[in-house]
């Protein structure tokens, strides 16, 4: 079970409280987590990455284990602590805009 922390605006949009728990059958990567998240909550499609290019939106960041993974390959395997749910995969809206 993977734990995903959504930013408040996306929690509201997806109508979830607290962390989202996902089962990811494939290798646990940024892409496989986002694929599963969007499958469960289709209203989130296009809010974290572009519909067509699948590139991360510029002001969305992905964190895990205290590291900013936003510029890592979306297909790079994530740490075991993310895969086993002991640490969350964190999606945040960048602090920007004043």
């Amino acid at each position: 079970m993977i734990r995903v922390v959504l930013p408040p605006h996306l929690r509201t949009l997806a109508r979830v409280d607290g962390d989202v728990e996902l089962d990811v059958n494939n290798r646990v990567t940024q892409r496989s987590i986002l694929d599963e998240l969007e499958a469960r909550y289709p209203m989130l499609r296009g809010t974290m990455r572009d519909h067509v290019t699948q590139l991360r939106r510029p002001l969305v960041r992905f964190f895990a284990c205290g590291e900013d993974l936003s510029h890592e390959s979306p297909d790079a395997p994530l740490p075991e602590v993310i895969a086993n749910g002991s640490e969350p995969f964190v999606i945040i809206g960048a602090i920007a805009g004043g």
Binding site: T12, E38, G46
Partner: protein
Amino acid sequence: MSNVRVLVGTRKGAFILTADGARKRWKVSGPHFAGWEIYHVKGSPADPNRIYASQTSGWFGQIIQRSDDGGKKWNTPGSSPEELKSPDGMPKGESNKFVYDGVPGTHQWYDGTQHPWEFKRVWHLEPSLDDPDHVYAGVEDAALFESNDGGKSWKELSGLRKHDTGPKWQPGAGGMCLHTILLDPQDRQRMYIAISAAGAFRTDDGGTTWKPINHGLHSQYIPDPNAEVGHCVHRIAMHPSRPATLFMQKHWDVMRSDDGGGSWREVSGNLPSDFGFPIDVHAHEPETIYVVPIKSDSEHYPPNSRLRVYRSRTGGNEWEALTKGLPQRNCYVNVLRDAMSVDSLEPCGVYFGTTGGQVYGSADGGDSWKPIVRDLPAVLSVEVQTLQ
């Protein structure tokens, strides 16, 4: 007894203001979509319980919201459990997917170079006159999209963006937005749109082909003041009984056309400033129009810090200041292009919202005004539904 529902989009959410036909006691609900920019909220003329909203964010992009019960409950279109799976079993979630048709091409950038078309947000939603599931969306970077399934999916009417003049279109200060969509109630194949800063365009074949309708516009801030395109049109309004007569608030100048945009003439007359954003037409008097003069393009507040709606009962040229109930000193708010609307009661109600968060209403055609609410976030849009 009739009721009125005022749909207000703000920088930090949507609000719905309701009153009975007397329009004296108002109930305010919201914020809906708290914290998000709500560029526009508009109800379907064919089904007033069907309302569409454009919810947007610099962080998370575009969202389309839809209500089927007059604004009590909202959903992203197509998000019910039975709608979530397409025939191949994959999730859809395409109500916010606005993808340009084909290769997007380029338009003129602020520095004169060419810049690729990039979708940013929906500025204006225009439900069709007779089908609640049919709705148009005017977007930034300027293009027109259409949905025939209640906002679940969108397709570009790309004949507009692919017009020969497209590479000459350029963004105004607010971006290159398609902000006005007018549907001709007497000819369903005809509609008008306006883009800042390209100008006005008309289609006579349901959106397949378009032609610029800017003859007579004069804009001193562009290299050729009389160019075919490049004019910063802020808003166009039409009375449904006279769809060939159009009123325009341009960056500077208030204009009028009586031939479907074929030619324009200035009707700024005695306005204290002919800069402004909104323009609207009285519900029952096709020659009565309203504007809100703003001091200048660099000082976006009313002349002499007095908030005044100006009304012409002669289709322009002769204007009277409407001041009763509006702040007449120390007022430095703006009224944005989509932030004025009218109801169809008798007498006609007029409403507008300000960047200071006030929504003012007049239940007597503009003779007197009262704030319905005073302290909302900056108001981006105001639309009114008259409910029987």
